[in-house]
């Protein structure tokens, strides 16, 4: 069979886990207009913290501690930008570099930790029902539940006064200052929230893969950005915040499905990065290309008119 349910399940499960990082970038990049390059390190931090706590026997607590670790990472990145005037890109790079050592330390200075044999949230959830069908679908169901909670929290939060202030900060800092809000505060809250999501994603992938590796996060920010951009093409014209949030998740899952199809077609994995680049480029360029074609037609019609009029005279 060309596409099995197993392939689609994995694609969706992975897509949902990575969509958390895409959502994190949605908050830091789309809303706050900050390029947060500490994502890679924070993702690995979440994975490392999650792994250590899961091995210690507390898989659910692991998720929360991973989020707390993400908040700490986001806090440092924010303080560098708001208090010490470091440019946002550089602040992210600095934190990312420092996190490498922190992550190694969390893993006990080993570059790889295996969680095999310990309970994870996925195994606990699966144990709720012994049927085989449940065993096969339970990870996906768990991810959908987690994502539903996250989407609800993000949507609710962005509608509160604080959420509005954060949105305004990304739109016009002058206006925020004039409204008696401290942009440093809103940036800090925004970055902490975003990095908490990244940490959560790292912890979930660690429990999903049953391992934590120091090099896990490399290139994560690029993949998440690609998912974000693909998702945003669906919601560009919309003002509905809920749809904007959901489209990010759709973008991430779509990206993973395309990777699955690529694998089925035996595309050499070396070509994957190029394929992703092409897909993102097409996604962004499609509306523009459409307009170019329309314009071209308009021009041709106008020129025809001119010619026929000129001929008559």
């Amino acid at each position: 069979m060309f596409i099995t349910t197993g392939i689609i399940q994995t694609a969706l499960e992975i897509g949902l886990i990575y969509s958390l990082v895409a959502l994190s970038l949605f908050i830091s990049f789309s809303i706050l207009d900050i390029c947060d390059l500490s994502t890679d390190g924070c993702y690995t931090l979440g994975c490392a913290v999650g792994a250590v706590v899961t091995i210690g026997g507390h898989p659910i607590l692991a998720l929360f501690l991973a989020m707390a670790a993400g908040i700490c990472s986001g806090f440092v990145t924010a303080i560098l930008q708001t208090r010490f005037g470091v440019q946002s890109i550089l602040a992210g790079i600095i934190v990312n570099t420092g996190l490498y050592t922190v992550n190694l330390a969390v893993m006990g200075f080993s570059s790889n930790l295996s969680i095999f044999g310990s309970d994870t949230v996925f195994s606990l959830f699966k144990a709720l029902n012994p049927s085989k069908a449940w065993g096969s679908w339970s990870p996906l169901v768990l991810m959908i539940i987690i994502l539903a909670i996250v989407v609800f929290v993000i949507h609710w939060f962005l509608g509160t006064r604080l959420g509005l202030s954060i949105r305004a900060t990304g739109d016009s800092r002058a206006m925020v200052r004039a409204s008696s809000i401290n942009p440093g505060f809103t940036i800090t809250v925004g970055l902490c929230f975003a990095n908490a999501l990244t940490g959560l994603s790292g912890a979930l992938i660690g429990q999903f893969n049953k391992s934590s590796d120091i090099n896990l996060g490399t290139g994560m920010v690029t993949i998440a950005l690609a998912s974000l951009i693909i998702g945003e093409t669906f919601s560009k014209k919309s003002q509905n915040m809920l749809w904007k949030i959901l489209s990010v998740i759709i973008g991430s899952c779509l990206y993973r499905l395309i990777v699955s199809v690529a694998l089925r077609l035996n595309v050499p994995t070396e070509a994957f990065k190029l394929v992703s680049a092409i897909i993102v480029a097409v996604a962004i360029a499609a509306p523009q290309a459409r307009e170019l074609i329309l314009l071209h037609r308009q021009k041709r019609a106008a020129m025809k008119e001119n010619l026929s009029e000129g001929g008559e005279r």
Binding site: L216, A262, L265, V267, A283
Partner: protein, 370 residues
Amino acid sequence: MKKNMTKLTAILGAGVMALSLAACGSAGTTSATSAAASSQSSAAAASASSAAAGSGKVYKVGIVQYVDDASLNQIEQNIETELDALGEKNGVTFDYADYTKNGQADGTVLNQIAADLIADEVDIIIPIATPTAQIMQTATEENQIPVVFAAVSDPVGAKLVESMDAPGANITGTSDALNTEAIMNLIFAQNPDAKKIGLLYSKSEDASTAAIENATAYLDEKGIEYVEKTGTTNDEVSAAADALIAEGVDAIFTPTDNTIMTAELAIYEKIAEAGIPHYAGADSFALNGAFCGYGVDYANLGVATADLAADILLNGKSPAEEPVQTFDNGIATVNTDIASALGLDIEEIKTAFEPYCTQVLETVTAKEFE
């Protein structure tokens, strides 16, 4: 909503078009290799001397490579050659050509590669290197497809097996754990007066941790001073090498470290110019300019992995009971170009090394094995 559907179709369409273009290219090569494979098996059938195992059955073998690098590639090639040979010998076909995947050091893709192989209903999975093996372990937890890993330095530490002798589940394989003491002996055999040893490795390499611990323990016992410098990218490794040269070390030791391996071609010249012999845990290092590579013969390891896999498939052995194989590091590979650059006589070296290894091979600096 309609606009969104058009956008969705556009993206999927573009995606499929791009993929089919790429697939056409690769489909061409895979059909060529499977033609070669089938001609091999037909040749095997034609040669009448086969024993009863000439069933002509096709086994699907999924080989998963982590990243491109001389040692890992060497393993992959040897696995494939040995599978071909065994297939011919037993009158079956090991079809790996359609199922060989390379993760390109991208962990995010490995999960989906696993799902892909399972959908293809492969009979066995051969992951190369620890991160790949761990993901295959999780992916086969339910379906218990046999997994034979290649080149995992610490299978017990990585929780892939319960113990080296009795793995206990569907996973077994070959380990390239390094005999560090043996290399240290070589260093002092060549230069008994060595006072300071440089340790060059990457902290992010799982394989290096145990080996460096052994090295430092050995050196502590002997009371020899050592300096550790690490790097995780080519630039950092280069800087680390510079630092060790500046420290005036008498020799440099590197375990089976993929990161240093990737950077070896960039650093070997300055190390040789400084008159420092570079000892490393794999012969591929010597190929790329280190003075001496002493460790597991990766060609051998590849062959043994293929043997193990074939054994499980053909003879129905259970991975739970097949012990993980380690290799007696017997072969030292010395780079003659570097030896001359260091002003050392190759015959003297051979004599010095003789008590510590079974064989001394020579090589010159090149990029890949022939």
